[in-house]
C-alpha cells in the first residue's frame, strides 16, 4: 500500500545572501493514510520547510517527495497548484480567511476554483461541513466578525471541502487560548476519524502533541525522533 506522503532523502537549501542555509538535511519519512501526526521542534528546526514541501508549495533541493505515490520535484507551478487543490487541505496559524468573503463563501472558495459542481452540490457540501464545525448560524458573517476559534473552524471546513486525502496544519492552535485550542484539536481528530483524512501538523504546544498518534521531532534540519 502506498503511503499518503513519502519523503525520501530530502534536503532543502536556501540561498541567504552570499551563503546558503541548509534547512533540511537528508530527511527520510513516511506518513500512512489516516495518521494524525505532529511535527515538533523549536523555531528554525525546519518544521515549516518540511510542511512547505509536503504542501507542494516548494520542491526539494535533493531527494523526492511523493504525494500518494506521485513524485513532485519535476512538477511545474500549474501541476503543483492543481495537486494542492485536489489532494491537500491547509489550516494556517492565523487562519488566513479571505477577508472580503463571508463564512459560507470562504468555505465554498476551493470548490469554485475546482469547478464542476452545481450550485446545489456546493451548497450541500458547505452546509454539511458548517454543521460539522458548528458554524451554520454564522454562515453570512464576515471573518472579522468571528472569534479566533470560530475562524479556525471555518479554516478547517475550508480545508476539508474538497475532500482532500491529506490536511496540513501549521501551528493551528498557536493563536488560540488553550481551551479553544483543545477543542480545535478535538475537532481535527474527529474529522481524522470520520473522514480517514491524514493530518500532519506542526506545533510546539505539548498539550497538542499529546493528542497526536505520532510525533516527529526535528532539530537543525534533521529528524531526532519519528
Amino acid at each position: 500500500m502506498t503511503h499518503a506522503v513519502s519523503i525520501e532523502h530530502v534536503s532543502k537549501i536556501y540561498p541567504l545572501g552570499n551563503t546558503e542555509v541548509q534547512a533540511l538535511h537528508d530527511i527520510h519519512l513516511n506518513f500512512d493514510v489516516g495518521e494524525f501526526t505532529t511535527v515538533a521542534g523549536p523555531s528554525g528546526c525546519g518544521k515549516s520547510t518540511l510542511l512547505n514541501l509536503i504542501g507542494c508549495m516548494d520542491t526539494p533541493s535533493q531527494g523526492e517527495v511523493y504525494i500518494e505515490g506521485k513524485p513532485i520535484s519535476k512538477l511545474g507551478d500549474k501541476e503543483l497548484t492543481r495537486l494542492r487543490l485536489d489532494k491537500l487541505g491547509f489550516i494556517f496559524q492565523s487562519f488566513n480567511l479571505i477577508p472580503v468573503l463571508n463564512v459560507f463563501q470562504n468555505i465554498e472558495f476551493p470548490l469554485l476554483i475546482q469547478g464542476g459542481f452545481t450550485s446545489k452540490e456546493r451548497s450541500d457540501r458547505v452546509m454539511e461541513l458548517m454543521d460539522e464545525v458548528g458554524l451554520r448560524a454564522q454562515a453570512k458573517q464576515k471573518s472579522n466578525e468571528l472569534s479566533g476559534g470560530q475562524r479556525q473552524r471555518v479554516a478547517i471546513a475550508r480545508a476539508l471541502i474538497t475532500r482532500p486525502s491529506i490536511v496540513l496544519a501549521d501551528e493551528p492552535t498557536a493563536n488560540l487560548d488553550s481551551s479553544t485550542g483543545e477543542r480545535i484539536i478535538d475537532l481535527m481528530k474527529a474529522v481524522n476519524k470520520s473522514h480517514k483524512t491524514t493530518f500532519i501538523f506542526s506545533t510546539h504546544d505539548p498539550l497538542v502533541m499529546k493528542h497526536a498518534t505520532r510525533v516527529i521531532r526535528l532539530r537543525d534540519g534533521e529528524v531526532l525522533e519519528s
Binding site: 492543481r82 487543490l85 491547509f90 477577508p99 472580503v100 468573503l101 472558495f109 476554483i113
Partner: protein
C-alpha cells in the same frame, strides 16, 4: 470556469469596496478622461464639420487648383502673416477648366484671384467742407457757425501739421505755396465773411486747402476677383445684404458686410454695435466687464460725429426727441444744447443700453451718413501691380454681400468681391488698352524700358538720373482737375473675358464632397498625363493655418488626454503593486489552497477593468448630459474667429453615440491591458507566503 469567473468578479468587487478611496481616485480620473475625451472629440468633430461647411461653401470649394510653380502655398484667408503670397498664375484658365471639368465628380470650376489694394479716402477737411456747403445752401445761420467752428479747429490742426512738414520737406516751393494758402484761409475775416454760398471761397478751400492735409489713414481692402455669376451659383453661403450683385459683364465691386460694418461705419455706431454684440452673444454686462466698460466710456466722446451731420431741421427734431425721452438741457442755444443732450444720451449702462441702442438706430442713425461708402457710390482702389506701378481703378459699388452665418467672421468675411477683369487690372496684367496707356505714360515721363537684368544698372548706374516717385502727384492732379475720374477700362466687358485668360487659382466644387481625396488623386493623374503644371489642394490646405486649426486642437486635446491617461495608468499600476504588498498573505493563501496564478491575475485585472468601466461609463454619462444640454442651449461664439469655426454665432454640438459607447470600452480595455504588468507581479506571490507569520 464560469464559477471561477463569477468568483473573480465577486472578489474583485469586494476588494474595490474594501479599498474604496483608491477605487474612487482611479475611477474619478478615468471618469474625467472619458468626459474630456467624449466632449472634446464631439466638439472637435462638430467644429470640423461646421468649419468645413464655412470654408467649402464660402470661397474655397472642395479643392483649389493653382500653378505648381507657386513660390508660396495658397492661403485663401491669409497666411500666418498678412503678406502677399506668391502663388503664380494660370495664364490661361481654359486649359485647366477643360481638363478639370472632364472629371465626372467635378461640378464646377470657379476662377479666382485675390490680392490687397488701398482704398482712396478723402480727409476730414473734405467732410467738413461738404457739411459747410450744405449748411450754406440751406442758409441755417447757427449750423453754419457750428461748421465754421469745426473748420477752424481743423485748420488749426493743419497749421501745426504744416509747420512739421516745412522742417522736413525738400520741396520748399510747395511749402511756401501751402503756407500762403493756409494763411489766407486762417485770416479771421476769411471765414467770418463766409455767410452765403460763396463758390469762389469754397472752391479755394476745396482745391487749395483740403489737399494740404493728408488722406485719412489708408484702408487696405482684400479683394477677390472672380466670375461673380459662377461664384453666386456655387457658394451657397453667399448672400446679398444691400444693393444688387454684379450683372454678368459688369465691372464693379461688392463690399464685404463685415468690412463695411467694422471699418467703414461711423465710430459711434460701431461702438453701439460692439456693445450690443458682446452683451447679446457673450452674455456679459457693461458693468464689471473691462472691454465693455472701455467701449461705453468712449461712446459719449462721439457726439461730434452726430452733430456734424445734422442740419438745422434735423437738429431741432433730434433735440425735441431727446427732450421727449427725458434728456433735457438748460442751454438755450440749439447746437450747444443738442451737444449737451447727445453727450447725455451717449452715456449708457446696463439699465438703459437696450433702449438707447434702439433709439440710436431708429432716430439718429437715419440722419447720419452711417457708412463711408454705400452702394451706388464709386470708390478708387489703388494697388501696386506686379510690374511695380501703382494702379488706380475706379469701381462702382453695386452692393454689400456676406456669407450667411459668417456675418461676423473675420476670415471669410474680409474679402470684397470684384469681377475678374478688374482683378487683372489691379493685379497688373496688361490688356491692350492699358498697354497703350502705359506706352503713352512712358513717352510722357520719358521712362526707359529696361529688362530686369539691366534694371540695377539703369537705376543705380552712373548714367541713371535720380528719379523719385512722388505719390503726391496723383493727389494734386486729382484736385486740380475737376473730380471726374475717367475710367481706364470701360464699365462693361464681354463675358468671354472672364471665361478666358488669367486667373491665379480656381475653386473646384465637387458633386460628391465625400470623395475629395479620391477625386484629387485622379485629377492629379490627369494633370500629369496632360503635362499641366497645376497643384491641387483641398479646402483644408487651401485655407492655410485656419484650415489646420482642427488638427492643432486635436493634437492639444490628444496630448491632454494622453497626460490624464498616463497619470491614471501610473496610479493604477502603483496601486496594484502597493496592494500586492498589503495583500501578500491573502494572495498566498489563495495560491496555497489551489488558486492558479491566472486566477490571481484575473482578480487584479478585473479590479482595474471594473474600476475603469465604472469611471469611464460615468464620464460618458456626464458627457452625454453635458452635450445634450449644450445641444439645447448652444455654445456662443465668444469672438469672430470662433464664429467662423462654428459656422455661425452658436455651435449646437451633436451627440455621437458611437463615441459614447466606444470610449468607455476603449478606456477600460487600455487601462486593463496596461495593468497586466503589475497584476503579474501580484500573481507571482508565492503560496508559501500564506505560512509567513508577521511577528
Amino acid at each position: 470556469m464560469r464559477e471561477s469567473l463569477v468568483l473573480i468578479i465577486k472578489v474583485a468587487f469586494r476588494n474595490l469596496w474594501l479599498y474604496r478611496v483608491k477605487t474612487l481616485v482611479i475611477a474619478g480620473l478615468l471618469c474625467m478622461g472619458s468626459f474630456i475625451g467624449i466632449v472634446g472629440l464631439s466638439l472637435l468633430r462638430d467644429v470640423e464639420r461646421s468649419m468645413q461647411d464655412s470654408i467649402i461653401s464660402s470661397v474655397a470649394g472642395h479643392l483649389q487648383v493653382y500653378s505648381s510653380k507657386a513660390k508660396d502655398d495658397l492661403a485663401l484667408f491669409g497666411g500666418a502673416f498678412m503678406g502677399r503670397a506668391e502663388i503664380g498664375t494660370m495664364p490661361d484658365m481654359v486649359v485647366f477648366r477643360e481638363l478639370i471639368k472632364k472629371h465626372p465628380n467635378v461640378a464646377d470650376f470657379i476662377p479666382m484671384g485675390s490680392d490687397m489694394a488701398m482704398l482712396g479716402r478723402g480727409n476730414e477737411l473734405d467732410d467738413v467742407l461738404t457739411a459747410l456747403r450744405t449748411a450754406l445752401k440751406k442758409g441755417e445761420t447757427d449750423i453754419i457757425e457750428q461748421r465754421k467752428q469745426d473748420l477752424t479747429f481743423l485748420l488749426q490742426q493743419l497749421d501745426r501739421e504744416l509747420t512739421e512738414r516745412e522742417k522736413l520737406s525738400s520741396d520748399k516751393e510747395l511749402m511756401v505755396r501751402y503756407r500762403t494758402d493756409l494763411k489766407t484761409a486762417m485770416e479771421p475775416e476769411y471765414l467770418a465773411s463766409l455767410k452765403i454760398l460763396d463758390e469762389e471761397k469754397l472752391l479755394f478751400l476745396d482745391t487749395r486747402i483740403a489737399p494740404i492735409s493728408g488722406e485719412k489713414q489708408p484702408l487696405y481692402l482684400m479683394y477677390l476677383g472672380t466670375d461673380i455669376d459662377l461664384f453666386e451659383k456655387n457658394f451657397s453661403k453667399f448672400k446679398m445684404v444691400e444693393g444688387e450683385p454684379l450683372a454678368p459683364g459688369q465691372r464693379g465691386i461688392l463690399l464685404s458686410y463685415k468690412v463695411r460694418e467694422t471699418q467703414l461705419k461711423a465710430v459711434v455706431a460701431r461702438l453701439f454695435d460692439r456693445l450690443k454684440k458682446r452683451i447679446d452673444r457673450v452674455e456679459t454686462t457693461i458693468k464689471g466687464d473691462a472691454d465693455n466698460e472701455a467701449t461705453a466710456k468712449d461712446l459719449p466722446k462721439q457726439y461730434q460725429q452726430i452733430l456734424a451731420s445734422l442740419d438745422r431741421k434735423e437738429s431741432e427734431e433730434l433735440a425735441a426727441y431727446l427732450k421727449s425721452i427725458g434728456i433735457e438741457t438748460a442751454e438755450k442755444e440749439l447746437v450747444a444744447g443738442l451737444k449737451e443732450q447727445l453727450q447725455k444720451f451717449l452715456i449708457v449702462d446696463d439699465g438703459n443700453f437696450k433702449d438707447r441702442y434702439a433709439q440710436f438706430y431708429e432716430r439718429i442713425a437715419p440722419k447720419m451718413k452711417l457708412y463711408e461708402i454705400s452702394p451706388g457710390e464709386t470708390i478708387v482702389l489703388r494697388s501696386y501691380t506686379k510690374s511695380g506701378y501703382i494702379k488706380s481703378v475706379p469701381l462702382k459699388v453695386y452692393g454689400v454681400y456676406t456669407f450667411e452665418g459668417l456675418e461676423d467672421s473675420d476670415l471669410a468675411g474680409v474679402m470684397n468681391i470684384t469681377d475678374l477683369v478688374t482683378f487683372r487690372e489691379l493685379y497688373g496684367e496688361m490688356n491692350e488698352e492699358s498697354k497703350k496707356e502705359l506706352e503713352a505714360m512712358r513717352a510722357k515721363s520719358s521712362t526707359v524700358v529696361t529688362t530686369a537684368a539691366a534694371a540695377e544698372d539703369a537705376l543705380f548706374g552712373e548714367s541713371a538720373a535720380p528719379t523719385l516717385e512722388n505719390r503726391e502727384i496723383e493727389g494734386q492732379a486729382k484736385s486740380n482737375e475737376t473730380i471726374q475720374i475717367k475710367p481706364v477700362i470701360s464699365d462693361v466687358f464681354p463675358i468671354s473675358e472672364i471665361q478666358n485668360g488669367l486667373a491665379l487659382n480656381a475653386a473646384i466644387r465637387l458633386k460628391d464632397g465625400s470623395k475629395i481625396d479620391q477625386t484629387r488623386a485622379e485629377l492629379n493623374k490627369m494633370f500629369k498625363e496632360a503635362g499641366l503644371e497645376a497643384k491641387l489642394v483641398d479646402w483644408q490646405e487651401a485655407t492655410g493655418i485656419v484650415g489646420q486649426f482642427a488638427n492643432i486642437v486635436r493634437i492639444v486635446l490628444m496630448f491632454a488626454l494622453g497626460v490624464i491617461f498616463v497619470v491614471a495608468l501610473v496610479i493604477i499600476n502603483n496601486s496594484i503593486i502597493v496592494g500586492t504588498l498589503n495583500r501578500t498573505k491573502e494572495i498566498g493563501t489563495m495560491r496555497a489552497i489551489g488558486a492558479q496564478k491566472s486566477f490571481v491575475l484575473g482578480i487584479f485585472l478585473a479590479e482595474t477593468g471594473i474600476t475603469s468601466l465604472i469611471g469611464s461609463i460615468l464620464g460618458a454619462g456626464l458627457a452625454t448630459l453635458f452635450l445634450l444640454a449644450l445641444n439645447h442651449k448652444g455654445i456662443p461664439a465668444p469672438n469672430d474667429v470662433m464664429t467662423f469655426l462654428f459656422s455661425g454665432p452658436r455651435l449646437y454640438p451633436t451627440l455621437q453615440w458611437n463615441l459614447v459607447i466606444l470610449s468607455p470600452l476603449v478606456i477600460s480595455l487600455v487601462a486593463t491591458i496596461a495593468s497586466i504588468y503589475a497584476a503579474r507581479h501580484a500573481a507571482h506571490v508565492k503560496p508559501a507566503e500564506a505560512m509567513q507569520e508577521k511577528e
